[in-house]
Amino acid sequence: MKISRDQVEHIALLARLEFSEKELEAFTRQMDNILTYFDKLKEVDTTLVEPTSHAIRVTNVFREDEVKKSIALDLSLKNAPEQEGNCFRVPKIIE
């Protein structure tokens, strides 16, 4: 096995996802299959090969720090599941 059920549960926690027992089992099996398939990459010698993170050469893009028009307050809150005053409302964070 490339991946255990415990590992899948740990990854789920990192990703802020939760699964039923049945889903956990299915995910473990599917992820194991997929990760086994990924072993194919071990065949490739990548000694001294630079990684590619973007297909084109990306460099930092700088611009003047000018004040420009931004999204109005009411519009930025328009899609909020819950709001109060001019804030996004979330459940209690500190007990």
Partner: protein, 485 residues
């Protein structure tokens, strides 16, 4: 003649001659949508009223004698692109109530060019999938065989064009999501060079791979749309500041200056014999038009799929961390505390394939596994890019099948993610290397399903891709065939 079957350039000529108005054209398409949508289900939302208003404006522009190539042309937009005031769901429950307060740059460009939006096309959730079966709003059907998938993730965009429910559409392509559904539905689909078209307002999946592009009824229409889509956007730091040519100038009838590379790695075991035959015949047509062919090698092709399914989920797991139920989108009702709210919102809001990719990506980036998975994949990606660089020293374009098989049946691969991933085996390498690629119709199987021919070029050589595809299309009849359903 049914106006819904017109191409962009045909509709443009007749709008210019005042044979009909943009209002009449839009009404014809809305009527067509009403008729066939119950069978095809290409749209998530149809915005009839807005479309008719936009048509009124287009008619005023036409009356003032200021018609441009896209004025009054009704289009479908993939629901991954933000549209101000129109819900943009990305095919996901988690964004089912999301109404953007701005337009994606490509949408803004189309509006400025006078085009009309008919509605938002269905897609695999967050553009993850090859069949449109992963949409939270039901799957779309292939107009050539309603029991088959239209491809994905831009399945709604491709099906809408094939079923004449729009004149053309926009899709996005991360690993083949424009070209594969174009191939499945018998239409033209172009993925531009990475950086050629702005991604601002495109809901991110794999940020180093995503590109917006057109799905159309012929190659000229793809060139016309590229004229409006392409260009530098200061709001997308990965868009490239490079002059945009008039893409229609590349539409020449012969291929005397074109050398075509043929790679044996794209004619592998497991490819459908009817697909291989159609593509070999297409190569003969291309040669008869003056193209030279040369054998090339792309030795790392077989590693493209595992590389992609590490890199794209890794980027996705990071991009999709923003869906937490705080600022927009769906929030669970069981929000007793913040952590539970995050977990339940995400678990209730995302579908199975999206969760699978978030999990894979999180794993590939997690402490202890980063080097073995994400790091290794990024190194092999370099080798895939170098393969193309070497190949394009010998040829102008590479011609391949778009997909190894024609469209499969709805439900056939839903339980086997790895089999589903194999649908993108010929389209993924161009995303990893950033090259443009087009799919044009090149045949029908015995069962009447379309086959697609893929043409790939070096970065920013869309002109050569369009030229090759255009010359082929003008000498064959596949693009004018219509599904009966």
């Amino acid at each position: 003649m049914d106006l819904s079957t017109l191409t962009i350039h045909e509709a443009h000529e007749r709008l210019k001659n005042r044979d009909f108005s943009a209002g009449e054209l839009t009404q014809t398409l809305l009527k067509r949508i009403e008729e066939v949508e119950p069978k095809v289900k290409a749209y998530i939302i149809v915005t009839s009223e807005k479309a008719l208003k936009e048509a009124e404006q287009a008619d005023m522009i036409i009356a003032a004698g200021k018609i441009a190539p896209l004025t009054g042309i009704p289009l479908a937009i993939k629901d991954v692109l933000c549209t101000e005031g129109i819900t943009t769901t990305c095919g996901s429950k988690i964004l089912s109530n999301f109404v953007p307060v701005y337009d994606a740059t490509v949408v803004r460009n189309l509006k400025r060019a006078g085009a009309i939006t008919l509605g938002k096309a269905n897609m695999d959730e967050f553009a993850m999938g090859s069949s449109t079966e992963n949409s939270s709003f039901g799957h779309s059907h292939n107009p050539w065989d309603l029991s088959a998938i239209p491809g994905g993730s831009s399945g709604g965009s491709a099906a809408a064009v094939a079923a004449d429910e729009c004149i053309a559409s926009l899709g996005t392509d991360t690993g083949g999501s424009i070209r594969q559904p174009a191939s499945c539905c018998g239409v033209v689909g172009l993925k531009p060079t990475y950086g050629r078209v702005s991604r601002f307002g495109l809901i991110a999946f794999g940020s180093s791979l995503d590109q917006v592009g057109p799905l159309t009824k012929d190659v000229r229409d793809a060139a016309l749309l590229m004229n409006v889509l392409a260009g530098y956007d200061p709001q997308d730091s990965t868009s490239v500041n490079k002059e945009v040519p008039d893409y229609t100038t590349f539409l020449k009838p012969d291929l005397k200056e074109i050398t075509i590379g043929v790679a044996r790695e794209y004619f592998i075991e497991g490819i459908d014999p009817e697909v291989e035959k159609a593509v070999r015949e297409a190569l003969n047509v291309l040669q008869s038009l003056g193209a030279k062919t040369v054998d090339i090698a792309l030795p790392h092709t077989e590693y493209a799929l595992p590389v992609y399914y590490l890199i794209a989920p890794a980027e996705a797991s990071s991009n999709l961390a923003r869906y937490d139920g705080v600022k927009y989108g769906f929030r669970t009702e069981k929000d007793e505390n913040l952590t539970a709210m995050y977990k339940k919102t995400r678990s209730e809001g995302f579908g199975a394939e999206v969760k699978r990719r978030i999990m894979l990506g999180t794993y590939a980036l997690s402490a202890g596994y980063y080097d073995a998975y994400y790091g290794k994949a990024s190194q092999v990606r370099t080798l895939i890019r170098r393969d193309f660089e070497e190949a394009f020293k010998k040829c102008d374009v590479i011609v391949t099948p778009t997909t190894p098989t024609p469209a499969f049946k709805i439900g056939e691969k839903v339980d086997d993610p790895l089999q589903m991933y194999l649908s993108d085996i010929f389209t993924i390498p161009a995303n990893l290397a950033g090259n443009p690629g087009i799919s044009v119709p090149c045949g029908l199987t015995g069962n009447g399903l379309p086959i697609g021919l893929q043409v790939i070029s070096g970065p920013f050589e869309e002109g050569k891709v369009l030229q090759t595809a255009f010359a082929y299309e003008q000498n064959t009849e596949w693009h004018v065939k219509k599904p009966k359903f």
